[in-house]
Symmetry: C2
DNA sequence: CGGCCTGTTGATGCGACTCAATTCAGGTGG
DNA sequence: CCACCTGAATTGAGTCGCATCAACAGGCCG
């Protein structure tokens, strides 16, 4: 892990403006946030924080990808969340006087901004807008986790995979349509851990989708051929 | 559903003081909260809100029990959370400009206080302490959901049941010790849905625990005989 | 007493994990 | 530039946990 400071504090402020958590904030608040934040960079496959360790602050991911995971005693890993650039992570632990509930590990070299809990809570007191944004952020997380619980408890792997593909498609193209393609941003092993399964099962399920004509595969690139059937599968229809 | 108002507004304020979400608030804030809140009572097995419906506010449960559920097309049900008296529910949807992520259904006759989103957000702006409490509340929820995800993805039914029993024991007696007993507050069918399984499997798992001497059962009453083994099972040890 | 709901127990089948073998792709060094 | 190595991905065979289906026992209430 390396620490570095940006050449110009104004650069940081510009960065912060693009983060959802800080949208609509007064310039003075942004300056204060830029002031308390610390640049922390990590090499690939580095732990950023560990489950169970006391939380001293939270992070904003500037570049690269980070996974938030739970691990079992026998080495299995479930990915709770894949963090994209401009998203925050580790927030929850800051407000509960508690430990991080997950372990965060960088998937590739990445840059982050770190906000120490103490200083951030002070700013929070003086900025209702910041508090409101943080509540919205956490609401989205809750919504996300709720849906994952639904998937894990009620749906099988094919439905979870179908939903993932549809989401990624919507994310990239803003619509679901036959012929649209998407690239898997991570390895299939990671995707399997995110979907609550293992790479072998994911591989078989993708092959089944392909033989049904729902998708086409070319290396890491997936093309959606039958979005309607895919949506049915995502809803739980047996195939 | 029936609406009723308390005889004396002061009664409401007294109620609110005991809610974690409102701890440490100024008297004026409590009065304002009492003022905007609306008493709503429900008979057993009544829907309080539906997944997907736009959220107009959140609830505090005063008495009775409420389940928050996700349902699948083929009628299966997963209980995301069992709400106890003095706890809030439906908060998340208030801050995300979005719909309720789950359906809330009363398990027995219950009394609630309802806080309309609009009025509550106004109060939130003027009370940093209230905002901070809400953030802490949502952090706890996130923590809780994270652990459920861990359980569902990495552990089997026996581990989930073991953890539940240990938690209930700790909740009731403040310690884990051989000989301590606890009563199941809900039917076994409901508990099964909460643990992400079905009543038959829960029944078999309990029977297995009993034959191993880990617990004893007498009607709905469960006595923990071997807490150490139970903790091992909760961690994922095969039995 | 008879109906209903909850819970228990048995037999069976399916989905997905495990283990193992093989192929494939990317990166390295001779 | 090719041979090599390593980790990822694929495919097959076997096993296991758990859901499903079905039958039945017990408690509660009209």
């Amino acid at each position: 892990m390396t620490n570095a400071s940006l050449k110009d504090p104004g650069d940081k402020k510009k960065l912060l403006k693009e983060i959802y958590l800080f949208s609509g904030l007064a310039d003075s608040d942004l300056a204060a946030l830029a002031n308390i934040s610390i640049r922390k960079d990590f090499l690939r496959e580095s732990p950023i924080f560990w489950e169970g360790r006391e939380a001293q602050g939270f992070f904003i991911l500037l570049s690269g990808y980070v996974k938030l995971v739970k691990s079992s005693l026998d080495g299995k890993e479930y990915i709770i969340r894949l963090v994209n650039p401009k998203e925050t992570f580790g927030e929850a632990a800051v407000f509960a006087e508690s430990a991080y509930p997950v372990t965060a590990i960088s998937l590739e070299d990445c840059q982050t901004l770190y906000f120490p809990k103490r200083d951030f809570l002070e700013l929070l007191t003086s900025s209702p807008r910041l508090a409101r944004n943080m509540l919205a952020t956490m609401s989205h997380l809750l919504y996300h986790l709720t849906r994952q619980l639904e998937d894990l408890s009620l749906k099988e792997v094919s439905a979870r995979l179908a939903r993932y593909l549809l989401e990624k498609c919507l994310e990239k193209h803003d619509k679901i349509e036959a012929g649209l393609a998407l690239d898997l941003p991570i390895t299939k092993t990671h995707l399997a851990a995110y979907l609550g399964t293992i790479s072998e099962t994911l591989s078989r399920t993708l092959a089944r989708f392909k033989s049904l004509g729902v998708i086409a595969m070319d290396k890491g690139r997936i093309t959606i051929n039958d979005p309607l059937l895919l949506q049915d599968i995502a809803k739980g229809r047996k195939i």
